[in-house]
Each structure stands twice: as C-alpha cells, then as structure tokens.
C-alpha cells in the first residue's frame, strides 16, 4: 500500500507488446515533493513507464498508484491531479499559445473565465506573453517546449510527468528548460522526469533510477550512483608517449587500483582516493621526474561511467547525435 508521503508507487509493473517486454517488473517509489529522474537509453522502458503512470497505457501485471489513486481503477480522478508533457511538444501548430492553454483549461473543466486567466498567468510565467497571441507554428523549439510544459501545469497538478523534456533542443534552449524546471520543483511539485541525458538527471533529479530492459537496475542520488562505480581518478595527458612508463612508476604509490593507459600511450587514468591533495601530490611527483604533462585533472565518475558499468553498454543509443551535440555545446560555454 502507498504511504501518504509517496506520490508515486509502482510495484512489479509488467507491460508486454506482442513480442517485446517493455516493462519487466519495474518498481518505483517517488516521495511527495521530490524529483525522480528515470535514466536510460531509448527503448529501456522510460516512456512506457510514464504512459502507464499517466493512464495512457494499461499495464499487464503489477500495481501502480499516483497520489494514492490506482492508475486503472481511478484513472479519471487521477487525470485531474497530474500533468504530462510528452516526448515531443504536443501543442497545436495552428492555434496561438493562448488558445492552446485556454483549450487545455477548458478540458480540465476550469470554466471559461478561469481557463483564460490561467492561460495568461502561464504565458507570463514562461516568458511567452509577447508570442502568446501568435500561432504556434512560428515558435522556436524551445518556445514550443515551454508552452507544452505550461499546458501540463494548467490545472496545478500535484504530480508532474515530463518525458524527455529537452530531447531535440539546442544546448541553449536546453539550459533554458532546465532553469524553468528547477524553478518549478523548488515550488514543491513532485516530478517524474525521464531523460537519456545523464547530465540532465544529474542536474535536476533528487534521485535517479537507472532503467534498462524494463527494470530499475540502480537507484540512488547522483553521488550514490557514482560511488557505486568507484571513487575518483586522476587523468592525465602526457606530452610524449615515451614518458608513460616513467609517469606510471611515479604515480603508482598513489594508485588504489591498476593504472590504465590508452592505446596511443598519451593518456593515463589513475584510480585514487583522497581528493585534491592527491592531485597536488601527483603533480609534484611528476615534476620531480621531469615528465611533461599537457593536462591533468581529478575526475569523479560521470553518470556516463555509471551507466556503462551498470549496463555494460553506453547510454548513447539513438540519442548519440544529440549527446554529441550537447557535449560540443558544453565545451563552447
């Protein structure tokens, strides 16, 4: 049974399509007022999970409640309490921003007057006042996403579902979306967010559930997940591959596990413990041996590493291009 403090409780969810098992016994608990990030590659079952929890899809086995209401038995009542913003901005091209929000308000049965007021409020909040009376077809990708998110908030939902809210956005719009979402959750909304961007989960979610093949394979805060993979490491790029053996010998006393070296021999990765002091110590040791270092840094494992070590495959599937684009954008900052 769901405790009052849990906004979302899913137990043993199974959803099968003809030959594919989309959800394979998925368990998930999201306490009220927190942000849960569902992280996984395309086809992992993220969207299916959101669809089951938002009553769009009936699961085959297991139970799921949102705000204590069963997603199948109490579907209609449940829809009054949730907001959904899907994978692509489901806004109407030929309507204005205002008309889109007004329509959603009417369909939440807010009444004519309240729907209009709410639409204006949301346009203001999402920085769409100026564009509000223009047709959506002239909006940028980022504006469409903001409008779609606004649509999900029309009825002030207790639980919000965002399915890949920034997929396909350029890096700048993505950062803009992150700000909007951060602000939103600061207000106490419970949020279930799916993403294939590790950085997005890291930035927005209190807890992250890593899912693969329709199951949660790891759960925790971003730090907990990183610890699960292992501690810090020293990464360095050498000026010359000939120095590699010298550098390796110099750093061995600091390593807590085997030092690895890339194929070209320029880069070394040294698993360490102890934080910044180790970095300073490492630099001193290399300097004493006169090893020329182009770059050196202390790195915590990224969620990319987490994903790789948990699933045995990288997170980038179909989203590879977009991830690449994102990284370029990050470097450009």
């Amino acid at each position: 049974m769901a405790r009052m403090a849990d906004a979302i409780v899913a137990e043993g969810l199974v959803k099968r399509y003809k030959s594919v098992v989309a959800l394979d016994g998925l368990d998930l608990v999201v306490p009220e007022g927190t942000v849960m990030g569902l992280l996984g590659p395309n086809g992992a079952g993220k969207t299916t999970t959101v669809r089951v929890l938002t009553t769009l899809l009936e699961h085959d086995e297991g139970t799921a409640t949102v705000t204590g209401l069963d997603v199948i038995a109490d579907a209609k009542e449940l829809r009054r309490r949730i907001g959904l913003s899907g994978q692509y901005a489901a806004v109407d091209e030929n309507l204005t921003g205002f008309e889109n929000l007004d329509m959603v308000g009417r369909l939440y049965h807010l009444g004519k007057k309240r729907s209009r007021e709410r639409a204006r409020e949301l346009l203001e909040r999402f920085d769409l006042v100026e564009a509000g009376d223009r047709e959506v077809k002239g909006y940028s990708g980022g504006m469409r996403r903001r409008l779609d998110l606004a649509g999900a908030l029309v009825a002030k939902p207790r639980v919000l579902f965002l399915d890949e809210p920034t997929t396909g956005l350029d890096p700048r719009s993505r950062l803009g979306m992150w700000d909007v979402i951060s602000e939103l959750v600061a207000g106490g909304t419970t949020l279930l967010l799916t993403t294939q961007y590790l950085e997005e989960a890291d930035r927005l979610a209190d807890k992250i559930a890593v899912i693969d093949h329709g199951k949660v394979i790891a759960l925790g805060t971003s730090n907990e997940l990183k610890d699960q993979v292992g501690g810090e490491r020293l990464e360095l790029t050498l000026g010359s591959a000939q120095d590699a053996e010298t550098a390796k010998a110099a750093l061995t006393p600091l390593a807590i596990a085997e030092i690895s070296r890339d194929e070209r021999g320029h880069r070394l990765t040294v698993p360490v413990a102890g934080g910044a002091e180790v970095l300073v110590d490492g630099i001193r040791r290399l300097d004493a041996e006169s090893v020329k270092v182009l770059d050196i840094g202390l790195r915590r494992p990224t969620l990319d590493d987490v994903f790789l070590s948990l699933t045995g495959h990288a997170a980038e599937n179909d989203g590879a291009d977009e991830n690449a684009e994102e990284k370029q954008g990050e470097q450009g900052k």
């Binding site: 669809r51 938002t54 009553t55 769009l56 899809l57 209609k76 009542e77 829809r79 009054r80 949730i82 907001g83 959904l84 899907g86 994978q87 692509y88 901005a89 489901a90 109407d92 030929n94 309507l95 008309e99 329509m103 959603v104 009417r106 369909l107 939440y108 049965h109 047709e135 649509g151």
Partner: protein
C-alpha cells in the same frame, strides 16, 4: 455535469479547435472543394455528352452522385485528422486530461461535418452554374442535403477507427483512397447501375453510396418519372435504406471508435 453533457461540452471545445484550423489553413477547404468542382466540370462537359440517361439531363443526374462522393471523401478527413493528432502527440495530451473519452471523436466528427456543409454549399453553386436545378419543395431539398450530411457523419466514425489504427496520415490517405474509390464509382453516382455488368451491378445495388445518391436524387427531384423502378429493395426505398445504413454505421462504428481511441498512443 452529467457524462453526456460533459462529452458534448468537451466535444465542442475540440470541434472549435479543429475549426480554427480550417479557418487559418484555407488550403484544406480549397483542397477538398477543388477536386469535386473539377469533377462536376469534367463530367458535365467532357463525359456527360457520352453518357445518356433516358428522360433526364445528365447534369441533373450527376449532381447527387457528386455530392455523395464528395461528402464521403470529406468524411475521410476525420481519419487523417486523428492520425495526424496521434502522430504529433496531441492525442496523448488529450488522453491525459480528465475529459470525456468520446469528446475528441465527437469534436472531430462535428468539425468535419461543418467542413462538409461548406463544401456542399460550394458544390451546389457550381452545380447551379452548370445547369443543375432542384425540382422539389425547399423542405425536400433540405432533407436531401440533411441526408447526405447525416450519411457522411456516420461514415466519419468508420474513418475514425481506421485513422486511429494506422496512426499515420499518409498511410491513412492511401488506405482510404483504395476503399473510397470503388465505393463511390461502382455505384449509381455517375452512371445508371442497371448498365453495369453482373457482379458490379449487384455491388452497386447494395452499395450504401448508391442508396444515399438515389435518396438525394429523389429528394431533389432529379429523377425521371418515366423510368422503370429499380430492381432491388434498397434502391426502391433509398431514403429509408440510407437511414438504415446511418443507424447501422453509428451502432457499429461509434463504440469501436471509442474503444480504439482509449488504446491510441503515439509511437
């Protein structure tokens, strides 16, 4: 609010949304009237001379057939519109709202009905220009238009099922064309069904499109009083037969369409 009034008021919100699109994208209405206008001109001036209908001017005969064909094509917008909404994720949004399950379909079929009214007005004017006249009372004429629209409305619900199943407007348009073309041509729309060879004649006689065409002809007074009665019951009582088809379509299609809607999710 009772479930019924909720369905109607939610349906009105959806219909309004669809009609705003008709208003803002005039290509849609131009597209759905241009082809029928071409058909009128083509049959009136090109084929008409070669198709003899005893005791009746061909243009008088033709218009009811063109009306029937046009409203059936008009009804197919229901399917492509829904398929497009699914594709764009709009149906996902609608389905996550606490609105009536039938509302999107009621709204869609209603706005497509309005669309058909506009198309019929344009077609009637074209018909009048090429020499078509109504020879019955205004009330009968209105009944004729009403019956055509009612028939189209019932067909809309069938199109809705297909649109929700295929989930792609392109696939829907190809699929519906394959069905609508024979339905509207192997009928009494452009030629007399009695001139068709064996199996095609039987198909035409029992074809719902033939019934509504014959009913419209009767109500517009576009029939030859001297012509022998039709061979089969449906065409002897076309108005009643059309009403029967409408009821049959609605009874079958409405629940199936709603069921399909409840399952519809974008890919």
């Amino acid at each position: 609010m009772s479930a019924f009034t909720e369905a109607l008021s939610d349906g009105a919100v959806v219909a309004k949304r669809n009609l705003i699109k008709v208003k803002r994208v005039p290509d849609l209405i131009v597209g759905s009237t241009l082809a029928p206008i071409m058909f009128v001109l083509l049959f009136a001036y090109v084929f008409g001379g070669s198709i003899a209908i005893p005791g009746l001017d061909y243009r008088e005969f033709l218009m009811a057939g063109i009306f029937a064909q046009t409203v059936v094509f008009g009804a197919s917008i229901t399917g492509s519109g829904l398929a497009e909404d699914i594709k764009k994720g709009v149906i996902d949004r609608f389905r996550s709202l606490p609105m009536a399950r039938s509302a999107v379909l009621i709204g869609r079929t209603t706005s497509d009905l309005v669309n058909n009214v506009i198309v019929i007005v344009v077609m009637s004017l074209t018909g009048l220009i090429v020499g078509w006249r109504i020879h019955s009372s205004p009330l009968e004429a209105l009944a004729g238009f009403g019956l055509l629209l009612l028939f189209a409305y019932a067909v809309s619900w069938g199109m809705a099922i297909v649109g929700l199943m295929v989930r792609s407007p392109e696939v829907f348009n190809n699929a519906s064309f394959i069905v609508i073309f024979p339905l509207t041509f192997i009928a009494n729309t452009f030629v007399q069904e009695s001139n068709l060879p064996g199996p095609l004649k039987t198909f035409a006689e029992w074809n719902p499109v033939s019934a509504v065409t014959a009913a419209a002809r009767e109500l517009f007074g576009n029939t030859n009083p001297m012509a022998p009665p039709a061979d089969v019951w449906p065409l002897q009582h076309p108005v009643l037969m059309t009403l029967i088809w409408v009821v049959v379509f609605l009874v079958i299609f409405v629940p199936l369409a709603i069921r399909q809607y409840r399952k519809a999710v974008s890919r």
